[in-house]
């Protein structure tokens, strides 16, 4: 976390090891924030769609629907992100929208599959008792199923967020900005230090996010 804030410090450290670094149009801290913003927006959409989807397909009598949902979301991850972006650009144009779409499709899988796994893992007698006490389906979901499946779901959210910090670097190719910018600039200028800076910051961002979400889960327990 601390390493992230003085983003330019990392730059000077890299300067000592590598070649000279041309100053970028946008400062590194701003790119980092941009990157984080992309990932968070995508993650919010993933949660808003993924969690209800997991809930809907785990209701009794919907085994077929559940397999379908898993297959379709799984498809989103097997298609290379680059291909998704390339296909999305003609429709959505350049910039943030196609990148967000890619991040959404890519991040959806762990959230949906963990959401389903978490909900299915809730002990059957516990659910039977909840019904027997007179809880409605909605009360049972809110009071019993969601709290009990939260740890598994959160593990999926962590995986999803960490994936997407990496995936979001590709967005720079579409002019979305973010930490992909120094990587692409570095590639085009054959400046390894720039590439390293981008990669390093993205990795640090991923680790910090993972750590933060981990802390949140532990606080919950």
């Amino acid at each position: 976390m601390v390493c992230l804030i003085p983003g330019l410090l990392t730059g000077t450290v890299s300067r000592l090891t590598g070649t000279e670094i041309p100053t970028l149009g946008t400062p590194l801290w701003s790119l980092t924030l941009q990157h984080l913003g992309l990932v968070l927006v995508a993650e919010v959409v993933v949660l808003l769609i993924g969690v209800p989807l997991a809930v809907v397909v785990t209701r009794p009598g919907r085994a077929a629907l559940m397999r379908l949902a898993e297959a379709i979301t799984g498809l989103g991850q097997t298609v290379p992100t680059l291909a998704i972006l390339a296909l999305a650009v003609p429709v959505l144009g350049f910039g943030a929208p196609p990148t967000l779409l890619g991040l959404f499709l890519y991040g959806l899988v762990p959230v949906v599959s963990n959401g389903i796994a978490g909900l299915l893992a809730v002990d059957q007698p516990t659910l039977d008792a909840a019904r027997g006490m007179g809880m409605t389906d909605a009360q049972r979901l809110r009071r019993i199923e969601l709290p009990l499946s939260l740890p598994v779901l959160m593990a999926g959210v962590r995986t999803s967020a960490v994936y997407n910090v990496g995936t979001a670097t590709i967005g720079a190719a579409l002019g979305t900005g973010g930490l992909g910018t120094p990587i692409i600039e570095g590639l085009s200028q054959q400046n390894t230090a720039l590439v390293v800076i981008g990669a390093l910051l993205a990795a640090l961002l991923a680790l910090s996010l993972d750590g933060l979400l981990g802390l949140a889960v532990r606080a919950e327990e």
């Binding site: 008792a129 027997g132 006490m133």
Partner: protein, 313 residues
Amino acid sequence: MIELRHLEKRYDDPVTGQPFYAVRDLSLSFPDGEITALLGPSGCGKTTTLRMINRLIEPTGGQILIGEHDAQSLRPEELRRQVGYVIQQIGLFPHLSVAQNVATVPELLGWPKSKVQARVRELLALVGLEPDLFAGKRPSELSGGQQQRVGVARALAADPPVLLMDEPFGALDPLARDKLQEAFRDIQQNLKKTIVMVTHDIDEALKLGDKVALMGAGALEQFGTPDDLVRRPVSEFVRQFLGEDALLRQLAGVPAGRLARPGDAHGLPQISQDLNARSALSVMLRERVDTLAVTDESGQVSGVLSWSDLERA
């Protein structure tokens, strides 16, 4: 009073379309303020019957009356909040504290917080769990016996007139089971709930049931007091199910002290009043006598127990 009228649960085989009756034409009244044990071999439909009473399973025919009301006239959730429910697997909510577990139904019913809190403490004390010690604990910190005490407290929380219990003591080790059965019998003596208790354990049915309803293959075989079933079985099925040692099983549920009467205990072998009558019989056989002296807690002789007293058990 709970009354079942021609209750039926039919399942149709999805492939052949053949009907299968889990419960068939079952008519039965569970008397107010008594424990009725629903006894029978596995697959006889006893659990299905129980779960139809609070509509966890919907009947395919017949009628269930709870008090004046047809069970079908209420929303299932409303019905269940008025009927306590205890299951073998206990099913406590693992992410909630003991107090929160017990508070489940009162909260669903929208009781004010202070009333819920007071009720939770009262119930924990009732089932023998010190409220200050246990209220804040998680279910995973309790032993199986303690967990089921919480399960019983949770079922009684909103003071329902009716309590449904599905093998409530079945998952406990024998020692914990005995203790909880005793505690439960004491609690019921004060509360006088109308209790339907499913069990496949003959000893448990004879020991706890004021009445026993023996089921076989979806239908009622015999309904009566434990004595009726043991001494006056109506069919070969009943006799065979209870076994030739049924009388001994019944004696095992009766403390010797309850059968003892005043008499001259001079020179007789002594037993404690807490010893069960079957063990007392065993002592008679071993000592080759037909009368024993029964002693109270302090070891003083309080009465005698003879062979003929056992027949009254």
